[in-house]
Subunit: 394 residues, 2 copies
Amino acid sequence: MLPIKHQFHLPKDMIYLDGNSLGPLPVAALKQTAAVIQDQWGEHLITGWNRDGWMQQPGSLGNALAPIIGASNDTIMVGDTLSIKVFQAVSAALSLRPDRRVVLSDSGNFPTDLYMAEGLMSHINGDYELKIVDPEEVRDAIDESVAVVMLTHIDYRTGRMHDMQNITAAAHQAGAVMLWDLAHSAGAVVVDVEACGCEFAVGCTYKYLNAGPGAPAFIYARPDIADQVQPILSGWLGHDAPFAFEPQYRPGQQMERFRVGTPPVIQMAVLESALAVWQGISMHDVRQRSVELSELFIQLVEQRCPSLELVSPRNSAERGSQVSFAFENGYAAMQALIDRKVIGDFRQPNLMRFGFTPLYTDEHDVTQAVDVLADVIENRLWDNPIYLTVKAVT
Amino acid sequence: MLPIKHQFHLPKDMIYLDGNSLGPLPVAALKQTAAVIQDQWGEHLITGWNRDGWMQQPGSLGNALAPIIGASNDTIMVGDTLSIKVFQAVSAALSLRPDRRVVLSDSGNFPTDLYMAEGLMSHINGDYELKIVDPEEVRDAIDESVAVVMLTHIDYRTGRMHDMQNITAAAHQAGAVMLWDLAHSAGAVVVDVEACGCEFAVGCTYKYLNAGPGAPAFIYARPDIADQVQPILSGWLGHDAPFAFEPQYRPGQQMERFRVGTPPVIQMAVLESALAVWQGISMHDVRQRSVELSELFIQLVEQRCPSLELVSPRNSAERGSQVSFAFENGYAAMQALIDRKVIGDFRQPNLMRFGFTPLYTDEHDVTQAVDVLADVIENRLWDNPIYLTVKAVT
């Protein structure tokens, strides 16, 4: 039953509504990581690669993650950063439609997705165009010029959620390849990559999956197309026979070819602990609690802080697991809130952003957070120069 | 004074001659990593990015590494894997010579360098050629068709070492850009990237720098050319203003543009401990001890195991910090050796490879290792079916 607060280390007296940016420490992670460092690396040294299964981590942790996004075994590879996985996926997707030249995305996409696509497309062979439309216009903008539709499922600022099934169907209808970024979805909402039929999905593990700062990213490829991809990031661990040290690259089978370099074994140990928490957890339960908590928050904030304006979709079916309010003095107000141990974050130009994470957040947290927020707003506690000097991070 | 064995956790009764593949655990690393996990991530959560300096790690650890390879502050960025850093560097190097189409490398290069260049060159705009010659022929093969000379300084199989100064001069003479892979050099031999004048260098930190399995890689760019590079891996943390979330990519200043995604904070903590060990250590002292240990090993093995044939250069000036011997039954012999707690490794087709790491290896280790090796060879202890079943890893 949710929440399972005891499985996380939550700082005393802190109400943490920023798990959409960086999840908290799973209690088991420290011991697990210490064991990998001391007992595996320390004692086994180089033999750990085989003996302790380090070499298999990218695939085995992909399998541990798979049920959370509706994927099967051996369809997900973990590693690198989300930026790198986006680069891999866009290149792979373009290679499946060699006769088309447009990557379609929206203005709600997280900038690094757009940047990585831009960097790729400005270097590769072919006169490619990155076409960016408003989120509401994506569906109509999909036509037969589009090679790849690249979208982030849930908007990092507003929590607005695309309809994966519907947009994927439209992409396929037009003969385009579908690539979803699930950074704000995996562990936050019910995702079923197989039912939606998308070719590629990528995501990170440090937000709702709680695998720590700089945790590895993941990439999913639909089994029937994985073998068609000629990887641009053709690293040795994606080779069909990495330890034959052949002079030419031969891509490995299926997801193996999406590996690049040596896996970050110690971050992988943290990820292993973080994913273990999800065993026996139903994403439907998580989603139901997430909606309840978000609705309660919206209702209370609108009652008590009328100067804040809801910018997230009011309809929960169109909203992920975060809620954003616009407030003219949002930056300083968020600093004042953080100073009072209610942690959300701020996004330009005026958004106060709050994430709801049912694994470790309950109604009591929500009502308490609104009490503090109401105090900050009503009593203009943000109107203090000390709250204009700090920076925030996604 | 070397060795400084007390700064490392070395398994009891093990003689570890594989630090050229994976260095041992620095004693301080466990505590440091636990502090980052528990006190920083656990207590500070999202605020750790600013409060604990996580965001600055890629540059500050680059600065900590810089003296080891003769670089100045703010010329090295840490992150990703070596494969990714090779990809970045080859793309950057090619962009500096837009009128040329050849990347020249040698057959002694580590395969992932060749694979990553191949993956890049087969996708980017322009009819590029990856030209691979024998190591001895590199200098003569550098002509005015060559855009980039991409070499690994020290051969991963034989320890054969290129003359960085000489080859870089030849590359520049022909108008080519020089890219060195220092995977087997950083912390192993005296390197002076600034004196050699190369444009780019890359390397890993899990070998002689002891930062653990899957530790981050690094990239160096010569300060006068760093700003000319248009990054192909244009990730948000390489943007000039990452937290402005602008729709278009604008590269950051100098090395900032070589950042890609979110840094792996926990692996960075291990790297910080590992680099701290090098404070006050002179690479000239390390090199002198490395030559002494290697020479002693060669002399004793040739005396006592005449069936093993030295394949590393006999002249220490042409050899890195590892020594390889060819032996017909090398694979099984190495397994037998490992079984007796003398750890080296095996490379195809018949190479027994031994690394010498003066931070934690002394003459006594060398003589003991040769005693065990002589026992394995003389008494045909390798001639046992159990030694034909395990795999080895770089």
